[in-house]
């Protein structure tokens, strides 16, 4: 059911000062509140820590610092595993120990573990994904196996879905089906999805919030539309000299700039109105202003982060 109104729902998950330290990799520190009833996309390049974050949220990876609460339960070594029965987790890669099972056997196993399991829903999902259920999972193509996993993860209607690159291997039809099924799941109103993705279109169609990660560091947590509404690329013509380039760095909300031709500069800002006013006050002429794509924004955030290192 839809809820209308300004009241903010409780967090499905909260992370306070969470860090994971491994030999070659550090994740965090993360301070996050994942809102209930909404879809949060985790966006980042390979090796940015998306999968580590998911394992952390599932209690499969111990954290070295900080506190994690999932669906109101504090995660820790002595945590009751009960909370895991309320979560649908789709790992990045299929589990090797399921190789010799058929889809049917995998589902039977899941049906015993999850209290919300519904065979009817499972069969409907298999049909809508057009998935096979007779063959052993290792005999299935990557996409076919993904469809079976998606059906299993949705069949128990969990309170929270953690999806680690769910669309990898899916053909365009199965991808559409996945989007429809996830939308239907969210229609219940009190469900939450956290989805790792680097497919721009998927993020645009599904997400309400976006978390950017880069080499284990959070680069920002944004409401999607506010993000796309505020970030702009402005192209301007200016007198070319050292002084102008210095003044360029003082543009309000500047996130990055480059010279695209003699006297022509391109800049990225998250305060476009003030930035334009500043440019006019400097006597520069703005030639164009446009919205930015997800990967352009991520690129900007990464450059900013690298510069601070």
């Amino acid at each position: 059911m839809d809820w209308i109104g300004e009241s903010k729902p409780a967090a499905a998950m909260s992370l306070k000062g969470v860090s994971v330290r491994r030999q070659a990799f550090t994740l965090g520190p993360l301070h996050l509140e994942i809102p209930t009833g909404l879809v949060t996309a985790v966006v980042g390049a390979n090796g940015s820590g998306k999968s580590t974050l998911f394992r952390l949220l599932m209690g499969m990876e111990p954290c070295d610092e900080g506190q994690i609460e999932v669906l109101g339960e504090r995660l820790g070594p002595e945590t009751d595993i009960g909370v895991k029965r309320r979560i649908g987790y789709l790992a990045e890669l299929p589990h090797a120990y399921e190789n010799s099972l058929t889809a049917e056997e995998k589902a039977r196993f899941a049906s015993k573990w999850y209290p919300g399991w519904d065979w009817d829903r499972y069969r409907k999902l298999l049909r809508s994904f057009d998935a096979e259920s007779g063959a052993k999972l290792r005999k299935l193509s990557k996409g076919m196996r993904r469809k079976v996993e998606l059906a299993c993860v949705l069949a128990h209607n969990p309170e929270l879905l953690l999806l680690d690159e769910p669309s990898s291997g899916l053909d365009p039809f199965a991808w559409q089906t996945m989007l429809t099924e996830l939308r239907r799941y969210m229609e219940q109103g009190d469900r939450t999805i956290v989805i790792a993705s680097h497919i721009t279109d998927e993020v645009k169609r599904l997400a309400d919030y976006i978390l950017f990660l880069h080499r284990g560091r959070p680069l920002g947590f944004y409401e999607k539309d506010a993000l796309f509404d505020s970030w702009r690329t402005i192209v301007l013509s200016a007198q070319e000299d050292k002084e102008a380039e210095l003044r360029l760095q003082r543009v309000p909300g500047i996130q990055g700039w480059s010279k695209s031709a003699p006297g022509i500069y391109q800049l990225e800002t998250d305060r476009p109105d003030e930035a334009e006013a500043y440019c006019h006050s400097q006597g520069w002429k703005s030639l164009s202003k446009r919205r930015m794509e997800l990967e352009e924004i991520l690129g900007c955030l990464i450059r900013g982060e690298e510069a601070r290192r």
Partner: protein
């Protein structure tokens, strides 16, 4: 139900503003009749590729204006539109369209006189076309 709202990526207005003014227009012009059930927030957001937060805000604003009503469990409906309000809106839409045209004119360095004569030409031509059209 599909609602003909189009987001123009090149407009500077924020998404919620674009969606809200178009939806308001559809209701005030009568294109969405009284009693029409709107799509769910999630469905509408997905079709516009925006977040449910934005659509929720639009529904909430239009509900405060008395154009929409939400019934728990059933959804959001179009309410009855006051005829005075509709009349007022008719001019609003036209003024908006002229604003855009004048903006383009100024960008291309047209003088007010040039724009006025263009407007008169356009009116004459279109009126003539309408007269010629078989009824």
């Amino acid at each position: 139900m599909w609602i003909p709202v189009h987001i123009d990526e090149n407009r500077p207005e924020p998404l919620y503003h674009q969606i809200e003014s178009q939806l308001r227009g559809l209701i005030l012009s009568g294109q969405l009749a009284e009693g029409t059930l709107l799509p769910s927030i999630r469905e509408f957001a997905a079709s516009l590729k925006c977040s449910v937060i934005t659509v929720r805000r639009v529904y909430q604003d239009l509900e405060n204006e008395g154009l929409l009503r939400t019934r728990q469990g059933t959804g959001t409906f179009v309410t009855r539109v006051d005829p005075d309000q509709r009349q007022e809106h008719r001019f609003e839409r036209v003024v908006e369209a002229f604003e855009k045209a004048v903006e383009t004119g100024l960008q291309l360095q047209c003088t007010p006189q040039e724009m006025e004569s263009i407007l008169r030409e356009v009116i004459d031509r279109q009126m003539l076309q309408r007269e010629e059209e078989p009824r």
